[in-house]
Symmetry: C2
Subunit: 350 residues, 2 copies
């Protein structure tokens, strides 16, 4: 499906480990005032003054989280950054630095790693974060990526998962389910390609959801928007594992219950049509699909007027007392308990 | 060689990813005043006030950096922490927090991960660092570990790699080559075990070097000692890849040359005797073996009286001008250029 258009192959042994890090990161500049020393010493040095520091880490494993047969390495580098930054934004913090480590087979040519780092750099520039460290090592088999991102916030700006209270509104940014369905389309095309390597897939009708899978964005814009709207969420989490599992996390951490309304869940038309094509239930996909990297948060009802006109924010439910439990109110107005059916890397969708 | 003495096996699917992280980290307490929020939200929250923050990250790959056939998981957890902390100490900083991510096959029983985290916890307690985050995911094949450690320092205390100047003394802590030779002993016993699974290895004569391989320590004590002795190194680096490659890094970063004296390189008697047994050159092993996690640093000659009586510190050479180059002065008093022959994960010892 994806051809290697670059026939140049420089072996990693030629460069050696130290040369490799230097080579791959030579075009990365430090731009953050908090970055004192980046790559090139035993550790990076940062200066946050009186700000709180926020740290998050994630791992991506080939064959579990990504498939190189349809994921271009540049996109993978981009996605590896944004997956991590999403957690920083979910704290209502500003992402400032990231470390990126990769393990790859030494049969990977240097040019492939350059592609990956080009994606990392594009994301770092777009989200205004400095690459300050990383490790590059060989792997006996597949590719593995580990990133740690760092952000800053004033104490009063931080939003944890535990602040939701009864009668708060449950709000989600963007729309849900696209990344998971994009993956289904790519998997289907891969199977077609296996049978007929000359087939040219027509992904045009699916471009929105394929992009949601291959080049997702982290919702820095939502953090900026909330600040502009003077809305301070009472609790917030990013949606990496599907809406239902994130709602359950948020409710558990806050010690509250929740009613989620099926008819309010924001779905792109492509998600609805593609779900039908795959004979899947679009609500189920939004609840359990994962990888949307949207923000899920709760706000005080008094803040509702500030957000109601914004097309990027949708109220999908409200917080209740813990005793009332966590429920989905279906279109048929039946009330069913919400179960965690998010993505679990140990056995896929549960 | 190492039997699984624990017949209990709980599958990872049973617990699910969220239950797993919660389960594995439930006995970890936050003890650092800088740790505001640990595991359990999108990101950890830290408060460093006016201190500089130091960040380092490392990856360990099964079959490249460790072999589970002779590395007990508890030791591996311990080593995964100290490998990372070593970089923080090499900045003359105080390690305060760490994140630990692992990818394992879902055929790993829970009890194996508990062993790994028990080692992580022992190291965190001994070195007084808080575990503040991590990711646990499945791997299609081997085990992979990625850690990011964080430390603090006052600006004036930080020691970079670039401050060495002509006539400074080159000093190393502890002794070198043990970890590499310990690995050779373990590899040999593994081969013996393959031929005769009933053989009982007698590792007693090698206990020092086997421990250097299986349970190395990071030299926090040296950082404390230097502070007590009021010695501020001009440059410092940790020895993870062999003495020669670290000397070359330090000289390159500082823009200086160096004379290293072969007869000054500190070697434990077990290293000397085992090197003879393996028909290997002990100097070569110290220069290229790696994984010693000792500290290599330069000091102003005026500080020599403060360190000369300490049995843990050895002056092994002196800094010269860049033009003089980097040389090893052999026991036979010949002067040969020092080459980087350290461990390279892309092709082993170069």
């Amino acid at each position: 499906m994806l051809e290697d258009k670059n026939p140049q192959r420089t072996s990693l042994e030629e460069l050696g480990e130290f040369g490799l890090i230097e080579h791959l990161t030579k075009n990365f500049e430090l731009k953050q005032s908090t970055s004192i020393q980046g790559i090139g010493d035993d550790a990076a040095v940062l200066d946050f003054k009186d700000k709180k520091v926020v740290v998050s880490t994630d791992m991506l494993v080939e064959g579990v989280h990504f498939d190189l047969s349809y994921m271009p390495l540049k996109h993978l580098g981009y996605k590896a950054v944004i997956v991590n930054l999403s957690d920083i934004y979910a704290m209502n913090a500003v992402a400032t630095q990231i470390t990126m480590s990769i393990a790859v087979s030494n049969r990977f040519p240097l040019e492939a790693l350059e592609e990956f780092y080009a994606g990392v750099q594009t994301a770092c520039e777009f989200y205004n974060v400095d690459l300050i460290g990383g490790d590059t090592t060989s792997s006996k088999t597949g590719m593995l990526i580990s990133a740690t991102s760092i952000g800053v916030a004033n104490t009063d700006d931080l939003v944890y998962r535990n602040g939701a209270k009864a009668n708060d509104l449950l709000v989600v940014s963007g729309d849900l389910g696209g990344a998971y369905l994009g993956l289904q389309v790519l998997e289907r095309e891969k199977e077609v390609f296996k049978v007929n390597p000359n087939s040219q897939p027509d992904l045009d009708p699916y471009s929105y959801i394929v992009e949601r899978q291959l080049k997702p964005e982290a919702r820095k814009d939502m953090v900026d928007l909330l600040k502009k709207l003077e809305v301070h969420p009472t609790a917030m989490i990013d949606i990496s594992d599907g809406l239902s599992s994130e709602i359950l996390h948020l409710c558990k951490n806050s010690g509250v219950g929740c009613n989620l309304f099926e008819d309010k869940i924001p779905l792109d038309p492509t998600v609805i049509s593609t779900a039908e094509e795959f004979k899947m239930d679009s609500t189920m996909i939004a609840l359990s699909g994962g990888e949307d990297y949207e923000l899920l948060f709760t706000i005080d009802q008094a803040d509702y007027p500030k957000i109601k006109a914004n097309p990027n924010l949708t109220v999908i439910g409200h917080i209740t007392s813990k005793e009332e439990g966590v429920h989905l109110i279906t279109r048929a107005e039946t009330k069913i308990p919400l179960k965690a059916q998010g993505w679990n890397s140990f056995d896929g969708i549960q």
